[in-house]
Symmetry: C2
Subunit: 304 residues, 2 copies
């Protein structure tokens, strides 16, 4: 099974790099870092050991890439409308596309535009990892990739998990992708937006009593949204997210990094889609709705 | 009837200045601006005409002031725990204390610590006015003072309104102080906090579609809180607040100015007290609760 990494940043660079290091055939799509990757390879500084993939199978366009069995899409959801055109050159009839992205209802939108024979799945990276320079990734903490089938592709996902394990990466095949997506939102919804709105890190939010209570209240609202959308997540799960964030190093979530680097934020995938899902079942999530509106204001006022 | 202005800032300086200009006996308590006031008087630059009260009856301490019939307290609510001690030297048995302050439940707290014979009332300033230098006020827009009795003092309030009219200031004696306080909150709750949280002016919030919708949603939540607390305010009142803010010049509300000048913000009076009032009737106001928590985080993180 050969791999394509569509978007070699903090996430794609780490998982693709680990697979390549373990001997798998991995083709990496780069954007602005292409020249650097060609010359110096893909550098990964990881808590579990630094390494460099050199030479790296680097490409500037999917048009130059071979067809691949397993395609990990590690782009921001903002670009998903370009996905069908971008993936066309590398699709086999039985390829599986795994959307390693944030938010809800990502797979449905992709499945609508990809050929019906192509498998569609979701992936959730539980990882603290940043791109710190061209083709240069720093992996700070954690690393589990949870994947779940949306349409077909279950054999390919099992192979992916097995290859990741062999590469030293924790991988989990979730029986229920929709549940896994909501569970990830229990963390993503409070921290991603609030670190932008309150100009803070996770650690600052956890240290101050009011922001800590606010984070927890918002987690509980995510649980209410999930419940309305058919996914029961016990309160203990929110408690566990609080605990594990307490143990994390001070961290800027992806949305905060997007804001800091003047890139568009994934408001639709992380906020608007979950709000719409809950609303379609007659449930309002007022605190999350405040965050969505504040973030949209910030996006339109400060970002291109 | 003689007047004391306790706190000669943007509000006290304007109303006291207008009363003094019309010939009333007005005693002004200054803090850091005392020397400037003694030397150069109280300067008011107003849309309805600039003037200077010079000499001005300026004091550094209430211990030096004569007893007064009508006492306008124009300090931040943050200092209200000092009120009983501060006012003791200037109280007559039948003085009336008007708390020209923001928020809810201000009068109850003051009435508990002031002598029972002293009238207690509330005042709400509908005015755009800033202190732009020592003993120097700029009045930008509007100017109505709405007052309402909390305990006794109704004759003094009538006299106050009549004196203000004679001085060219719109004044209104509200039949229901509690209702008037909630009505003022329909404006104060959304704009005061959101200009701080989103680092903006009223005009920026009104121009962008999402923040505009957010402001309106929060106004509707204030109406729900008022309703729970026994005050019916029709939706049309929120519409009217939106319209009048659209017509306002770009403005930084008092909380935003407090933040900009590193002064404590009136979170308790404007947010915590209304939230507690609604909660005492079993009603949650989740969007306003988010604002309260965000503001407390900001206060503790950035202010002394």
């Amino acid at each position: 099974m050969n791999y394509a990494i569509i978007g070699t940043g903090a996430i794609g660079g780490f998982y693709g790099g680990m697979l390549a290091k373990s001997g798998k055939e991995v083709h990496f799509l780069f954007h602005s870092d292409y020249e650097q990757a060609l010359g110096n390879g893909l550098q990964v500084d990881s808590v579990s050991g630094d390494f460099c993939i050199r030479p790296v199978k680097a490409y500037k366009s999917t048009a130059d890439m071979p067809p691949c069995d397993l395609i990990l899409v590690c782009l921001k959801t903002i670009n998903n409308r370009l996905l069908a055109d971008m993936l066309r050159p590398i699709l086999k009839p039985d390829s599986t596309v795994v959307l390693v992205q944030n938010g809800l209802d990502i797979e449905r939108q992709a499945a609508e535009v990809l050929p019906a024979s192509v498998g569609v799945a979701g992936g959730m990276a539980f990882i603290c990892s940043n791109k710190i320079g061209p083709a240069h990734i720093r992996h700070l903490d954690y690393g589990r990739l949870t994947v779940g089938a949306y349409r077909g592709g279950s054999q390919a996902l099992e192979q992916l998990c097995s290859d990741l394990h062999a590469a030293g990466v924790e991988a989990l095949l979730a029986p229920d992708l929709h549940e896994a997506r909501w569970k990830k939102l229990v963390w993503n919804i409070p921290y991603n937006g609030m670190t932008v709105i309150l100009d803070s890190t996770t650690e600052q939010l956890m240290r101050q009593a009011d922001s800590r209570a606010l984070i927890y209240d918002i987690m509980l609202e995510v649980l209410r949204g999930a419940e309305a959308d058919g996914v029961h997540i016990p309160t203990a799960f929110a408690d566990e997210m609080m605990r594990s964030t307490d143990q994390m190093r001070p961290y800027k979530p992806s949305m905060r990094l997007d804001f800091d680097h003047h890139r568009p934020m994934e408001i639709e995938a992380i906020y608007s889609n979950p709000l719409a899902a809950a609303r379609s079942h007659g449930v309002d999530l007022p605190k999350i709705a405040v965050m969505e509106q504040q973030l949209k204001y910030i996006q339109q006022t400060y970002l291109p």
